[in-house]
Symmetry: C2
Subunit: 345 residues, 2 copies
Amino acid sequence: MEFNIAFIGFGVVGQGLAEILLEQEQELKEKYDFSFKVVAISDAVKGSWYRRSGLDLKKLLELVEKQGDLKGFADGIEGWDSIKTIKETNANLILELAWTDLKTGEPAITHVKTALENKKHVVMTNKGPIALAVRELLDLAKKNGVEMRYEGTVLSGTPALNLGLYNLAGSGITQAKGIVNGTTNYILTEMEKGLSYEDALKQAQELGYAEADPTADVEGYDALGKIVILANTVMGANLSKDEPPCEGITNITAEDIAKAKEEGFRWKLIAGAELKEDGSVEAYVRPEKIPLDHPLANIMGPTNALTYTTKYVDEVTIVGPGAGKLPTGFAVLTDMLDINRIVKE
Amino acid sequence: MEFNIAFIGFGVVGQGLAEILLEQEQELKEKYDFSFKVVAISDAVKGSWYRRSGLDLKKLLELVEKQGDLKGFADGIEGWDSIKTIKETNANLILELAWTDLKTGEPAITHVKTALENKKHVVMTNKGPIALAVRELLDLAKKNGVEMRYEGTVLSGTPALNLGLYNLAGSGITQAKGIVNGTTNYILTEMEKGLSYEDALKQAQELGYAEADPTADVEGYDALGKIVILANTVMGANLSKDEPPCEGITNITAEDIAKAKEEGFRWKLIAGAELKEDGSVEAYVRPEKIPLDHPLANIMGPTNALTYTTKYVDEVTIVGPGAGKLPTGFAVLTDMLDINRIVKE
């Protein structure tokens, strides 16, 4: 079908997606019957443009890459804020890619609700709305007859979430367990090579894997948000974001790592969710010693991986990037193509 | 939606699927809005039954497990052959799970064609029809407005094929490369532990991983059939089954394996397909020395794995079982659920 797309937020992910869309437009139409116009881009800082018959995406991308904002584009209506863009443009697919406060999930939750109430499909990559309000939002989507997707919230474009939600539907998933934070996995990998924790962290910061304040990564909170999303959406749990026990990697020493390896194990920061016999789901984030012959033990550097334990297909593991401009941009595309597959005009 | 299902063939895969369906019926309805009746089972050896309002699947499964056939069931019409069952029952979804001649693809190709021409959806796990006639069959499905799925032809229920076809659609796949034959991977794993090729093969035969005549596995032909399916369906190639170069594992010695490991590599039987700059696709099966830090190097025993190299999400690898009663039965279920998602009544 034909989608009129509005970007809410035009940062790294939005620009990554724009790059892919410009390169793949023809193939997406021919191979997947996916046609689109980008009718609006609304970014609180970079500026906003709306043109009913479609914006010149190439020009806008060049502009933001050159000058850091969208000023002076001058081919459409300028200055509509996110809510007006969601409500009043002719977009039928809203991409929620704006900056979000992780504690409140705002303004993303309001953006998504507004879009769904106005019967527009939504794709997002922000963890906030899903970690905090996924049930409510899915109900709202259903009530309004539209689709909502969020593959990019876990392992970016590596389709770990949709694997559990769709491909492994009916397989009897009893456990999801994996390496869902690339920063800490990079640090552990470098420590095994001989670096101290402090030096490995510094290197991760220099490479852009870790933030200046690395707390969310190294204390496990980022991984926790992701496993809560997996538990709640794939395994039917109803966990709040702060409920499960969470331990990061700050207590692991170079000696721990060397000793484990001698014994045939490797320390990994594992996020897990397990279905209990009473039907409840328990989630956790903690360092675990993984046997070297398990697929998760050999995931090195910033790579991510997730293993589903199922009743009918044993263990299925997916390995791939967990972050990045193009991988996260692609996460949005895979969700859009899935909506395109299942929604008939 | 509601499916009326006909099983064409009721061997190991059909029985595995029946077991899953009986266990999951309630959940499939509640979670995925997937309702079904098994209206017909037609097996050339075990017998055939048709009942318009639905057969007692539990009773039929017990019967075949107890006595090896469906004789004496006596609750429906007995004896319709596969073609009559496909054409004249009220089934709207045909499961092609019969024995098939790998050289001709028959009778599976005829079964699938007949089903599609009669506007019935098809799910199959036999490689034959896909390796030999996938284009023609997909065109026929499209022309008749029905769906055809075949996840089980590659890596059984590990969703390697649908990952490439759907989840990684638009990712710019340039290469598919993996361990797609569990028997040879089991043999190589045991040889690394110290067994000779002959002893490892014998052990694989005793465990049921290898056939009495192991040629198709150890010479690479089974892997070749699978990579041709991947190349033709995921990467848009048009290769014939006998075209690509194919080398098995019979020339690998215990010394080769030990030497590679010292150098930081592991021998694996790799099936690969690569997109060339001129747009053509080259496929091959051959032993390759894989660096120990690559996900494929650490796939041991009968486990299978496939790595897609893409333009936008780098490398995405999926690991899981490549055979088995329940994993292959589940492959049929995952395809049925996908049809259920995209087909609206």
